[in-house]
């Protein structure tokens, strides 16, 4: 495509307003559903192969230590043990950074995260792995591996890591400021900045200024399925890996880099995946299982993490410290904003501070703004993506400050957001012009909602305090990457849709519906399937809210190709020009003839070949998603406990393909955000050991902790998608923490500046701020 961008964009933009659909917007039962409710669906850990060995990983008991020696001889001598691997079995990789998925990966660091080389950098860092004939033998063997460590002082938070004289994790690390390299060893991996306008003038214009510092803890995605990988290193040196991943092709590429093999040597078979939320875009076990298979004489090896290993050994998301100073004129117009944010990346650089820098103020029109972001390494697990990475922390800070400004000015908090809310043609704080978004629509819909219009409920018990809060969230989805699909018309008139995008929450049905809509068929006529890396073109990870958007575009294009071929087949059948053949709602017609899709499908294939289409695309997309949430809370000021009484989440989803699964994304994101807001946090001791690595003590919300979550769908179609789709998965986790904080402030007069707003933290805030309540 050699057309200029602007025209190209225009060419792909279709008018989707006021379109009426046959399939889109309905709620068919998902194709993979029956297997999932009957226990037949096979997830990663359900793989059972003949002669399969069990692998287990030895992990560091220290937060920071030099590895002096590793002696595996006693482990290898244990009956049943077939192989042991350490980082000595991995090639030393060059320190090269590549774009992987939505982020970037330094291959050496990825390799060192999979098996530590000279140092362990966090409690739980993988050091060695064994394969044995039973799980018990594998576990016993771990106890027989003798690792000598020299413990080193550790840093757990970004603030600790940035202090002068702090222990340095990576001796070679220098601060990078957009390509300029610092000179001294540091834990600050990078500094970036967005700046526009004149801060001084902006603050001078302000009638009210609020300045606060927020801190947030480390939280984990908390998917219910632990990481698992099963591998066979064949005697032909072809490697097959069964795993639960958000992107089979990405996993293949990462394994290939770590093992220094061509991708063609590796086949990744994606199993059903039990949640990911970004956390299963990174590999941990796959190369380990493959090496164990090789060293054990080509036996299949399955390695599955325990829940503790999931918490201690896989990427959660960043803790952070965020300073926000914001000024507003008396009419509510925000005149200036200054933000400084440091995100802890864990053991290796790569926190989502870049995402945070875009989230924190992009929903608002701001002329005078400066945002400084720091990526800081700490002795905690290397972070992985978590649903709108960096967004929840950032919005907690900015939405709290905007709420406080509104409070001080006596302006309704939704009105405050209406006054400042961004719309098409405004500029994002980081520069680019904003295209069609539905932010103000979410604010208006929230304001008109039954929830917002209703009075606060009375406390359930006298003495408890109730309050209402709102917050908004911006998330710049990743409507890009590459998606490839193949479509095959069967001669019974059904259509196979072959995808490579992981279906993590119902995307098979969303793809099938887009193809059915394109072809004028029913969703049940389409057979969607997610296949292995050898069987479909490259697909980027199911992440960044991209799949229904990007893979949807590929599906639509493949559908158009099928339509064209069906017209040609009909033209041959009727001996007319294909240009004179129409296709509408699954019926192919010319002036004198018409035939249904299924009937025509039955006639093709007799000596003419099948009707098939394969499409691969890398769209330059857009699809910013915005949401506004409302929450009512009840606060027990004697215990600090916060109960969620009512929750409404309004979101611009572009076009809802399958509204039930769109609602599900909104509800699930809100629930995760509420968990983050109220109780979730890694707790470390002084030595940097993770104390609460279990689902008992890392408290994710239960059914009893949440009310029904009302999902209100706003549809402002995205012009860059044929059906107007915007990514929906991530933005719903952005507003909840801010909304809950604002509700607590409304109930108690106390401003929470720490996440989680656990009973302990709320009590402490009530004690310390008790006198300054508003």
């Amino acid at each position: 495509m050699e057309t200029p961008v602007a025209e190209q964009a225009k060419a792909t933009e279709v008018s989707v307003e006021e379109r009426h659909y046959n399939i889109i917007g309905t709620r068919p039962i998902r194709h993979d559903g029956a297997d999932k409710v009957t226990g037949k669906a096979l997830y990663g850990a359900d793989v059972r192969l003949n002669g399969m060995l069990y692998g287990k990983v030895l992990r560091s008991p220290h937060a920071h230590a030099r590895i002096l020696s590793i002696d595996v001889s006693r482990a290898l001598a244990l009956p049943g043990v077939k192989a042991v691997v350490t980082s000595a079995d991995l090639a030393t990789l060059d320190s090269v950074v590549s774009r992987v998925g939505e982020g970037a990966v330094n291959w050496r660091y990825l390799s060192n995260n999979i098996l530590a080389s000279d140092k362990v950098l966090y409690h739980g860092h993988a050091v060695a792995a064994v394969a044995a004939t039973s799980l018990n033998a594998a576990n016993e063997a771990l106890n027989l591996i003798d690792v000598q460590y020299e413990p080193l002082p550790c840093v757990i938070t970004a603030v600790q890591a940035m202090r002068p004289g702090a222990p340095i994790l990576l001796q070679e690390l220098r601060t990078n400021e957009l390509g300029a390299r610092g000179e001294i060893p540091t834990n600050i991996a990078s500094h970036d900045q967005n700046m526009r306008g004149d801060l001084e003038r902006g603050f001078a214009e302000a009638a009210v200024i609020v300045e606060r510092e927020f801190t947030t803890g480390i939280v984990h995605q908390g998917y219910i399925e632990p990481h698992t990988a099963t591998a066979v290193w064949g005697t032909d040196d072809q490697i097959t890996i069964w795993t639960s991943t958000q992107g089979a092709h990405d996993a293949r590429r990462q394994v290939a880099e770590v093992l220094q093999l061509p991708v063609s040597r590796i086949k990744v078979i994606p199993m059903e995946i039990g949640g990911g939320f970004g956390g299963k875009t990174v590999i941990y076990l796959e190369p380990v299982a493959a090496l164990l298979s090789w060293k054990s004489g080509n036996r299949p090896v399955q390695v599955t993490m325990s829940r503790f290993e999931v918490f201690a050994g896989t990427g959660p998301t960043s803790s952070s410290v965020i300073k926000v100073k914001m000024g507003s004129a008396s009419d509510g117009r925000i005149t200036a904003a200054q933000v400084t944010m440091a995100y802890a990346a864990g053991a290796f650089p790569g926190s989502p501070v870049g995402g945070a820098m875009s989230v924190i103020l992009n929903a608002y029109r701001m002329e005078n703004v400066q945002i400084d972001g720091y990526d800081v390494v700490t002795n905690t697990p290397r972070v992985a993506a978590y649903r709108a990475p960096g967004g929840t922390n950032a919005a907690f800070a900015s939405e709290s400050v905007i709420d406080e400004l509104a409070c001080k000015l006596g302006i309704d908090p939704l009105e405050m957001r209406r006054i400042n809310g961004a719309k098409e043609g405004d500029r994002r704080v980081d520069g680019p012009l904003i295209r069609r978004i539905g932010y103000l629509e979410t604010v208006e819909k929230a304001r008109a909602s039954a929830h917002y219009q209703s009075p606060l409920p009375a406390p359930s018990t006298p003495g408890l305090k109730v309050g209402r809060g709102v917050a908004s969230g911006w998330w710049g989805n990743w409507p890009g990457g590459t998606s490839s699909v193949s479509v095959i018309v069967n001669n019974d008139g059904t259509v196979n849709l072959i995808e490579g995008s992981t279906d993590i929450g119902g995307s098979r049905v969303a793809m099938a519906m887009q193809l059915a809509e394109t072809l004028g068929l029913q969703a049940a006529d389409i057979k969607p399937m997610v296949v292995d890396t050898d069987s479909v073109g490259y697909n980027d990870v199911t992440a960044g809210s991209r799949t229904t958007y990007s893979t949807g575009i590929a599906v639509h294009k493949a559908g158009l190709s099928i339509i064209q071929q069906m017209r040609e087949r009909a033209a041959q059948l009727w001996d007319v020009e294909s240009a004179s053949v129409d296709y509408a709602d699954g019926v192919i017609s010319s002036k004198d003839n018409h035939i249904g899709f299924k009937e025509l499908a039955r006639k093709v294939g007799d000596g003419d070949g099948n009707v098939v289409a394969s499409i691969s695309i890398s769209p330059n997309g857009d699809g910013v998603a915005l949401a506004t949430h409302i929450v009512d809370v009840e606060v027990d000021e004697e215990t600090g406990k916060v109960q969620i009484l009512r929750y409404t989440a309004v979101q611009d989803v572009g076009t809802a393909i399958h509204p039930a699964y769109v609602e599900g994304q909104i509800q699930g994101g809100a629930a995760q955000g509420i968990g983050w807001a109220l109780n979730e946090e890694y707790v470390y001791d002084q030595q940097g050991r993770l104390l609460n690595g279990s689902l008992l003590d890392y408290s994710i919300p239960t059914a009893l902790d949440l009310p029904m979550i009302e999902a209100v769908i706003v549809e402002v179609p995205n012009p860059t998608h044929p059906f107007g789709v915007r990514g929906v998965g991530e933005v719903p986790i952005v507003p909840p923490a801010g909304a809950v904080a604002n509700a607590i402030a409304n109930a108690t007069g106390v401003r929470m500046t720490v996440l989680p707003m656990s009973p302990q933290h709320v009590l402490e805030a009530l004690w310390t701020q008790g006198n300054e309540r508003v």
Binding site: V37, G275, G668, S694
Partner: protein, 162 residues
Amino acid sequence: MANKTAVQATINGEDVEFLCEPHQSLLEVLRDVLRLTGTKEGCNNGNCGACNVILDGVLVNSCLVLGVEAQGKRITTIEGIAPPHGLHPLQQKFLEHAALQCGICTPGFIISAKALLDHKPHPSEHEVRHWLAGNLCRCTGYDKIVRAVLDAADVMAVEVSK
């Protein structure tokens, strides 16, 4: 290595006999010995409910039961609740309400919900939430799960009254 014990149990209505080591949990036995992998492992210490099964009419975490304790017991797993050629009303309602996203917690939820409805056919929303509090779902926020269970209870009540 400890000796294996022969255990006889009735699983999903079928008499089975299996060999297991004393330290193997019922969850391990179901998944690795009997290859009934519909019962899932989420935490292996009783905090997530993904491995829930019904043992002699009582809802339990199969990770907190030893395989050898199954001797003489009746066990119902997710593989055993649907009628031939069909789905249990809970399974049907989970599909209709889109009460699953990734689906890993779904077998545990359906088993817990079945135990609830066996015990209390007309639960309130609060009772459903209380009963399901030991089952963690990270995808749905529970909204559609609770609705599916309440709807299934209604449907089952109608079926019973017919």
